[in-house]
Symmetry: C2
Subunit: 416 residues, 2 copies
């Protein structure tokens, strides 16, 4: 049987299961989430043994240590996954929420209500914890999920999904609300991307290459997540102490994440004062600065290429440029930003208003670190990813973003 047949098979089962899940009560869904959390504990030995296989294979293949670290599960990490499922159980159920409603002039009652998408496909890379996180968020939002993790984590993912499926069933839901996509090859990913009509939404989570290929090849609607070439613009009217703290935090607090700053723009009027301070502070943290001519005169600054400004480093590197004014910053950001998170540091109201209006990114931050663009920080309780596209959801995606809506129109024999 081909990958396409295999994938269509699981997708059809997911669709059947989704019909049951879509009308399940919150009580049933929360019971399933609690059972899933407990099951991760009960299956701990099996999951850790499966994970040891994956780690062993990765080590034998000479995988870098940081990737192996992301792949490795421990008792503590399993507890964290279980805790995440319990937290999702505690969140408000988005399904059934009335988004708007009115009575029309002819007496028809109109309500727009949240409903699940139906079947969600997740394509993601190394971390096996995403398997439980995604399953929990999808279940709570009433969606059956098809999980296609990295082949390097296949044993771990299989063991986790076995635990989760049993738990769903014990709570009275079909096991097929959570399924792994069969097959390790790209063919199975391709079949998933072509399962239009069976799969309602695809969410790729991972590097830029993965996301680009899904966007290009998928006929299933895609929610694009996560590439962040984020900027901090330090204005002439900035409080330079705040600016220094924000630049350092945005660049160095955690470098491997999509909301870390990758580019620094400084107004020329404060360049002489701010550049020596920020360059010293960044270098003290081990950051390499890729600067334009405005930065070139300072020690240790590497000359920036056009490519540097377009790069999401995810490392202790930052591109940097001096700009004429806020319009120069806006132009630079329009040209290079990935539309994730861009920040201004300024105390001038007119300049802030202009920056906020003109910069079209998922998050525009004023006197705050780009690191705040995050479902947890925003108080969403759970996050399936950060959308950098404009359709459907933009920015951190919580449970409501995992739903569609439908109109319910109630009359009493109404005709036109």
């Amino acid at each position: 049987m081909s990958s396409t047949d295999d994938v269509r098979g699981v997708a059809l089962r997911a669709r059947e299961a989704s019909h049951v899940l879509a009308t399940a009560t919150r009580a049933t869904k929360d019971a399933a989430l609690e059972a899933m959390a407990a099951a991760l504990g009960e299956h701990e030995d099996a999951i850790l043994a499966a994970n040891a296989e994956d780690v062993g294979r990765a080590e034998a293949a000479g995988t870098p240590a940081n990737i192996i670290d992301r792949l490795r599960l421990t008792h503590e990490r399993l507890e964290g996954m279980a805790q995440g499922l319990r937290e999702v159980a505690g969140l408000h159920d988005p399904v059934g929420e009335v988004v708007r409603g009115s009575v029309l002039a002819n007496g028809l009652e109109l309500r727009q209500v949240r409903v699940p998408f139906g079947v969600v496909g997740m394509i993601y890379e190394a971390r096996p914890n995403v398997t439980a996180d995604a399953a929990g968020i999808c279940l709570k939002s009433g969606n059956a999920v098809l999980l296609r993790g990295s082949s390097s984590a296949r044993s771990s993912n299989a063991a986790i999904v076995t635990a989760l499926r049993g738990a769903a069933e014990s709570a009275g839901l079909p096991a097929d609300v959570v399924q792994l996509v069969p097959g390790d090859s790209h063919d199975s990913v391709k079949a998933l991307m072509r399962a239009r009509g069976l799969v309602d939404v695809l969410i790729p989570r991972g590097g830029a290459g993965l996301i680009q290929s899904v966007v290009e090849e998928s006929t299933v609607p895609v929610i694009e997540t996560g590439v962040g070439n984020c900027h901090v613009y330090v204005d002439a009217a900035a409080d330079l102490d705040k600016a220094l703290a924000i630049v350092l935090n945005a660049k160095t607090q955690r470098t491997s994440v999509c909301n870390a700053a990758e580019s620094l723009l400084v107004h020329e009027d404060v360049a002489d004062e701010f550049l020596p301070r920020v360059i010293d502070a960044l270098r003290a943290e081990g950051v390499t600065i890729h600067g334009d001519t405005g930065f070139a005169e300072y020690d240790g600054v590497v000359e920036a290429t056009d490519e540097d400004y377009a790069t999401e480093y995810l490392s202790l590197d930052i591109s940097a440029a001096v700009v004429d004014d806020v319009e120069g910053a806006i132009d630079h950001i329009r040209r290079y930003s990935s539309g994730h998170s861009d920040a201004i540091v300024s105390e001038d109201q007119a300049t802030i208003r202009r920056f906020v209006a003109a910069v079209d990114s998922a998050a525009v931050l004023v006197n705050a670190s780009t690191r705040f663009t995050d479902g947890g920080e925003f108080g969403f309780g759970a996050e399936i990813g950060i959308s950098t596209q404009k359709l459907h959801a933009r920015g951190p995606m919580g449970l409501p973003e995992m739903t569609s809506t439908k109109y319910v129109v109630v009359g009493d024999g109404h005709t036109r």
Copy 2:
């Protein structure tokens, strides 16, 4: 120069213009809409002359009369287009609307605000009035628009766009907020569908074939509109007078529209009573009934094939079947519905609740005709189309559905 270069050229100009339009005030946009309405009157001679060329070409090519009727413009139709633009000017501006907002525990102020998509591409068939309608809705929602109408209406569309561009400019907006996509060949459509990064959203309006090809080929995100294989289910607990009125209205009030009923399902308990009445009434209106074995015994009923149940007739035809109960109706609708509008006629609350919960369509109607699924009927004031997809917008799309959102996060030196 290739089509791709041409289309990239107009898309780049649209993007530049969109930056100005995105931050234009409502007053400026409304002034532009009023000027556009006036310009249609001022350019009436030129537009009607251009339209006569299109109609002449279509007649020479032996185009059917109903298509020519859709293509033809008159003084009255131009007045209607102008009136539509004035009505859009009167609608609430969605841009800048705060969708939600809060102050986080750390004092950060969080606001999610509506922003334009940026550049919208419209691909549509014969009617030249769509040119003005789409331009008006896009302008009010802050989006630059690239219009790719049918080649059969190319002279009319060019004359209308000339009028609209001049009007936009007279109101202080760049003319390039409204542009025609150059080229008549499929290559230019293809280039538009591949302009990811330059075009933010594509909205195809037209027949199923057009929409299918856009969905399959586009790398630009698509909002799918309009195919409606709509059902009316007459339950055992239906008021049969209401049922008869609703079926007749849904099928015959206007047959060529996406919210017309295409399929009738009747509970077996009321079949003996309802079928003779509904068959007589439908036949009296000239409707051909494609029925299953339950309908076969009645005069003039044609035997239905599986394909009939999947067909959006858009004509005086209806498929029909007798079902065991509401679950049978739900199963049938899940299998065949295009997810546009499906109705139940029943006085039984439990049955209605089950139908509304289980039928996953853009609109689920209770004791009301499917013909009510419409932006005008819903009170939206303007409609760019009816989305039958689950991502971003579902059902009639008004001005808010033509926007994305962004998060504005305001702090005072906040770091993590």
